[in-house]
Symmetry: C2
Subunit: 376 residues, 2 copies
């Protein structure tokens, strides 16, 4: 799994600092990894992170990293410290402390948004909170949004965040392995919600005027979406969703769209390999842009916008847990026209992929001794 | 690459013989490899094969293996000997001694069919010959068919063989990196030909009555097809074709079908990543059943018919050179509904995949010290 570690160079952390003259600290794990069009060094920014789930980039060059087990970590210059003020979470199964995202105005207001599982093990809920980061701690933490229906199953929490240019915040809500509610507009279960920065339903949400629908819902029929990115150029929303065996999907999200789960699915039952759902397609529901075969088990999703990796500009980078790789995805006219595997088998299960502020690509690995890596 | 070898057990060859009470000799490389639905041991039947290309199963439990460099090997009980009587071949680039296939009546007539590159390095041709196997040598070897136009480029020879139930023999002819002729019915280049057992054009071939077409052609618009299998149950022809970057295809072949190359292709130019061909699709040409993304570089193709791997019955197994894996492909109603990776990274570049006579799966690896492996 961790072949590259044997090749790590002691002291590279300090050397890296000196050489680059910036805060880009880290230990070079492997140099000059070749790909079809780009070559990169794989650098471990921080290790010994316990099932890290998400990373956010602070303006001063540091990082905030959530650990699923409940801690929010601050990483800077290779040092990892714990951020105080995070509420208790239900760290059970796939749940715990999940996504973290800075408010677009963070430089001025210091607001950090994060998702987590709250309640108790009998009835737990995916929730969104925010706090103000100051002196290494979160202050004035408040819960902004909580899904309406809880569940006892410790899987499928969803909860990836992405800001839109209009200042609203998108958040995925998993189906908690309760299959029917994903088609039920009266419940947040199995949906993508669109919230104001205060966690309310914006008046222009697609179902805001309906009495029988939760006004927060932006799109539905989703299973467990853990990859979400908004294209800053045109606002396109890309989302990856965990299907049952064989049904992992890349979707382009439209307001009000029904993505089919569990009525329509390209996947198969885990045990019987029989088709899942009533049909593979339905004219009233939206087909995915792509179905990942073989299974990817999609996690974080990034869009390459900078020119640091010039040949990858405009491509999506989809992390895979079970697949232990990142897929570089080239899309034209809503069709996947090319794909390349990156980092396959080098660092293990990929939990998150992000484009950093200087155009580097950052990756988190989902292990008890997981790490934050940079492709540079 | 060859991680498994460290786990090989000395003496397993003899032990295997004694235990199984059959000719299934081999060295167990790894036991109990888990997959979604089946578990198998990986056994090396023979090593030290020089770029083996194809394997045929003799009725006595032995194997014939072609080495691309020009030798035909006989493997039995772990011993590898050279079969005499094979004509000289132009072993250059991707060319040399390629496929081998027994006549359906081999038990009575001893006829072995094989494909190879003949001519010289300036002008070489994919050809088909047969000989009678007796006392460890081929006798009365005769060339039965040679493609009409040669080429100097040492790539894209195609040349996979598959017998149909009517006694005709299918053979793929690569495009030799000459792109236009694949659309030219007057040339065999870039096509699938259908031959009598004597290498002639059957009268019922789709273009047999046309003056402007080669009568051997059964389907065209192909690039470099190295995977070919006929379903014994219903005669369906499955073919995998090397596309340009990103355009590897799985095709279901119909008589007279045009598979588009190079006019229509889902692939991209190797260097510019610009789309290849004039369009991605054309109503007059046949779309592939599936486009492999990321690149597979498809080699041998097998169909699981036996019940030894019961959960895989009816599935295709597609070998990958660059991808260093086998894809198990589940198809329903001409749509790929599920896929699983097998042997990824365990033995290297996969050159051929075959179902053996007792329902075992056999694999050849494309290395200078390649091997013949069995999944059992």
């Amino acid at each position: 799994m961790r072949i590259g570690m044997r090749r790590g160079r002691a002291g590279a952390l300090v050397a890296g600092l000196a050489l680059m003259g910036s805060a880009l600290a880290g230990e070079v794990i492997e140099e000059g990894i070749g790909t079809e069009y780009e070559q990169f060094d794989l650098v471990r920014v921080a290790g010994e992170l316990e099932h890290p789930w998400s990373v956010a980039f602070l303006p001063d060059g540091g990082y905030l990293v959530t650990e699923r087990t409940g801690a929010l970590k601050h990483v800077r210059d290779g040092e990892v410290t714990t951020v105080d003020g995070v509420p208790g979470v239900v760290a059970r199964g796939q749940g715990g402390l999940l996504d973290v995202s800075l408010h677009p105005g963070f430089a001025g207001n210091g607001l950090v948004y994060f998702t987590y599982v709250t309640g108790d093990s009998d009835q737990s809920y995916t929730a969104l909170a925010r706090g103000r980061l100051e002196d290494g701690a979160l202050h004035e933490v408040e819960e902004l949004f909580r899904q309406d229906r809880g569940g006892s199953n410790p899987g499928h929490f969803g909860s990836r965040l992405a800001w839109q240019a209009d200042g609203t915040l998108l958040m995925t809500i998993g189906d908690r392995r309760q299959e029917d509610p994903a088609q039920d507009l009266a419940s947040h279960t199995g949906s993508l919600v669109r919230l104001t920065e205060d966690g309310k339903a914006p008046a222009d949400n697609p179902f805001a005027d309906r009495d029988d629908a939760q006004p927060h819902i932006f799109a539905y029929g989703l299973r467990n979406s853990q990859g979400l990115v908004v294209d800053p150029a045109d606002g396109t929303i890309w989302l990856t969703d965990h299907g049952p065996r064989g049904g992992d999907e890349l979707n382009r999200i439209e307001a009000g769209g029904n993505y089919g789960w569990p009525v329509v699915s390209l996947g198969r039952d885990y045990r019987s390999e029989e088709p899942f759902g009533e049909a593979r397609r339905d004219a009233d529901m939206t087909d995915p842009v792509y179905e990942f075969l073989p299974t990817l088990a999609p996690s974080g999703l990034a869009l390459v916008t900078a020119d640091r990796f010039e040949a990858w500009q405009g491509n999506l980078l989809a992390g895979g847990l079970r697949a232990e790789r990142i897929l570089r995805i080239v899309i034209e006219d809503d069709e996947v026209v090319h794909m390349e595997e990156l980092l396959h088998g080098k660092i293990g299960r990929i939990r998150d992929v992000r484009e950093g502020p200087e155009g580097h690509v950052y990756v988190l690995t989902d292990h008890s001794d997981g790490g934050l890596y940079r492709l540079e």
